[in-house]
């Protein structure tokens, strides 16, 4: 029996339902699903379940959503609309098509925090440019983010956006043609030879290609850090624009992957999305627990090819330092370079007294301040040479 009439229609609606919930289900997959059902048969419910799963799914984390959708849809199609409102749906599925849907409350909240005077941005800009003499810029560079006025913060954000960030390129295992390369490229040599009639064989050479390593940013969003973290996220956004493999996470009491949200070209829009996704903004910190979660769930998927990890945190952990030291050690061992950015370093009399800081310090490659523009510029230089 073939899936025709009602069944085909239902499969199509089921596909649309999954698409509405954020799964990448196109018409091609719906057609595939119909073919598959024709082959597998529709006599057994579990066979239908797994048949559609093998066609519609592409990642394990889509599975829960599929499971819910299947249960709801294939019981009573009138309830299909409910799937969209299930609470789990939002957290797991990329809200790709809902970028514009910023809630008014959030826009207001962000505006209050970061744009004190959004009414006349043009005028402000001109004024700022007029003041941007060398000394003004110098002065701006040294003001602590914590004590900046909103105008100064806006200017600093612009300055960060203008930073050109480059990670040094490292050799990969793949070869590219290179006239000064160390190895002989036999394939290219022979081709060149035949082009000239085969009488002489000019030697073509190749060498290892180069590529920037992946960058992973882990940003502390606890209360004490929030202002630095916001500026740092601008920095990460600029980084994501210039480098190809950048992933970012925030942590406070829980770990949140914000890589997707930072892809938005416009920094403010990107940060607004981040603010919406991160639920533990300005709360407490559980660095150890969050690092453990990162190490267990993400490190093997992201560190793959020698990543550089930027960790921004003040290291003031509410929980025990034993586990924190262990997690830092693992993180350090699984990446190429671990750079810790700590705004507390702005104090000249800073000493590594708190237990959390002492636990983390032995496991980092570089320990840098991150409290003003100058320190961010220095960070860019450090990244360039690691």
């Amino acid at each position: 029996m073939g899936p025709s009439g009602k069944l085909a229609e239902n499969v199509m609606h089921f596909g649309r339902l999954l698409r509405g919930a954020g799964l990448p289900v196109g018409p091609d997959r719906v057609l595939d699903a119909l073919d598959a059902l024709k082959i597998a048969g529709v006599e057994r419910r579990d066979d239908v379940y797994w048949t559609l799963a093998s066609v519609f799914l592409g990642r394990r984390d889509q599975f829960d959503l599929y499971d819910q959708a299947f249960r709801v849809f294939w019981r009573d199609p009138r309830h299909a609309a409910r799937v969209r409102n299930l609470p789990e749906v939002r957290g797991r599925i990329p809200p790709a098509s809902r970028e514009q849907e910023l809630s008014a409350r959030l826009v207001q909240a962000l505006a209050a925090q970061r744009h004190a005077a959004p009414a006349e941005p043009a005028a402000e800009r001109i004024e700022f440019d007029a003041h941007l003499t060398f000394s003004a810029h110098e002065a701006l560079r040294e003001i602590d983010f914590e004590s900046m006025t909103n105008e100064e913060l806006a200017a600093a954000r612009d300055a960060v956006a203008r930073l050109r960030l480059r990670l040094p390129e490292l050799p990969t295992r793949r070869h590219v043609q290179d006239p000064r390369g160390a190895r002989i490229d036999a394939r290219a040599s022979l081709h060149a030879s035949l082009r000239g009639g085969g009488a002489i064989i000019p030697l073509c050479r190749r060498s290892l290609g180069r590529r920037a390593p992946p960058l992973i940013a882990l940003a502390d969003v606890s209360g004490s850090m929030s202002r630095y973290t916001r500026m740092f996220l601008h920095f990460v956004h600029a980084m994501a624009r210039d480098c190809e493999r950048v992933s970012a996470f925030t942590f406070g009491t829980r770990l949140t992957n914000i890589t997707r949200h930072l892809r938005h070209r416009d920094a403010d829009a990107a940060l607004a999305q981040v603010a919406r996704a991160v639920r533990d903004w300005s709360g407490g910190t559980r660095i150890g627990a969050c690092l453990r979660e990162f190490n267990r769930n993400w490190s093997r998927r992201l560190h793959g090819q020698g990543a550089v990890v930027l960790l921004i945190s003040d290291g003031l952990d509410r929980e025990g330092a034993d586990d924190l030291a262990r997690q830092m050690e693992r993180l350090h061992k699984s990446c190429r370079r671990l750079i810790w950015l700590n705004p507390l370093l702005r104090y000249p009399e800073f000493e590594a007294k708190p237990a959390g800081i002492r636990a983390m310090l032995p496991h980092v490659d570089a320990f840098l301040p991150v409290h003003n523009l100058q320190s961010l510029e220095e960070l860019a230089a450090t990244l360039n040479s690691c």
């Binding site: 595939d32 597998a40 797994w50 799963a53 599975f63 793949r174 085969g198």
Partner: protein, 302 residues
């Protein structure tokens, strides 16, 4: 040569014949892959039997197995084809010595199939008069994105173009099994062309069946306790949970040590077979092992 299975039940039976105990969900995906001539994309933790699927299918259907082990920097010369340059150069010299100088003739002579070295992908498409082989693309997550992009063409059109010769096309598509350990996400475009299946850890009953199949020499009581212990262990908060492969290895190791039942001391000594990270071992060793062993025994007694 065996014909393709005609139903999901037949697929299950076919796998079972070759001592592979599969979930019905995996059999469904495999059956569809065979019927629809689509690649089967298997993801899952290490040691749950992803690679084994391809080997078993090849054995069961009497097909050749062509394996492409992926690694970083895998390129066309290693994955698809390579010319035999040494022989080509000798050929050029010989042609010169023989006074042949016609350029076109020389070129077509040099770039002929005689000088072509087939690598796994080409081998899987250009199999001559035999039945299409099983192509295993193992650990695809280890390569880089450019190779994935190349694979797209091969997986959708079943052809490889070699500029000097032309396009080589498979008469019938090979049976393709792709595995990934998920050290990075594979691009959706590849997955779209495949049937996806996440291979999970088996439940206790199935795992016991697997152990009986793969380690028949182990005493029945030991197998039961081993499986119960491993199942308990998987519910713990560990960096790397033991896979089925580890269960089988452990069962064999304990049998080799003449154990007939689990006791905490032996478990402590052989924990390295199950857990491969020092942190995990340190966490479980000692009192935790004793507790798990007694829990496992209690679960079996109940």
């Amino acid at each position: 040569m065996t014909a393709l299975p005609k139903s999901i039940d037949e697929t299950l039976a076919l796998l079972r014949q070759q001592d592979y105990v599969a979930e019905r969900s995996l059999a469904t995906a495999l059956f569809l892959a065979l019927k629809m001539e689509r690649p089967l994309f298997l993801e899952g933790e290490a040691g749950v039997g992803k690679t084994e699927v391809a080997k078993v299918v090849a054995r069961a259907l009497g097909r050749d197995l062509v394996r492409l082990q992926c690694y970083e920097g895998l390129d066309i010369a290693a994955a698809v084809y390579e010319w035999n340059y040494q022989r080509q150069m000798v050929e050029i010299r010989l042609a010169e010595a023989g006074g042949k100088t016609a350029r076109d003739e020389l070129e077509s002579g040099i770039f002929s199939r005689r000088f072509l070295i087939k690598r796994p992908l080409l081998e899987a498409l250009d199999y001559g008069s035999k039945e299409p082989p099983v192509l295993l693309i193992d650990e695809l997550d280890r390569t880089d994105e450019p190779f994935e992009a190349y694979l797209l063409e091969v997986l959708s059109d079943w052809r490889v173009s070699i500029p000097e010769i032309g396009t080589i096309r498979a008469q019938r598509p090979p049976i393709v099994v792709i595995t990934s350990n998920r050290t990075r996400e594979i691009h959706d475009a590849v997955k779209r062309r495949c049937l996806y299946h996440w291979v999970n850890y088996p439940d206790a009953a199935r795992e016991l069946e697997i152990v009986r199949c793969k380690a028949p020499e182990a005493p029945e009581r030991l197998s039961r306790e081993v499986v119960a212990f491993v199942q308990k262990l998987r519910s713990m908060d560990l960096f790397k949970l033991p896979g089925v492969a580890e269960t089988i290895d452990w069962c064999k190791a304990l049998t080799a040590l003449d154990a007939v039942a689990l006791d905490p001391a032996t478990v402590d000594d052989t924990l390295g077979v199950l857990l491969k990270y020092q942190d995990d071992i340190a966490k479980v060793r000692g009192p935790e092992v004793a507790a798990l062993v007694s829990q496992a025994k209690a679960a079996l007694a109940a």
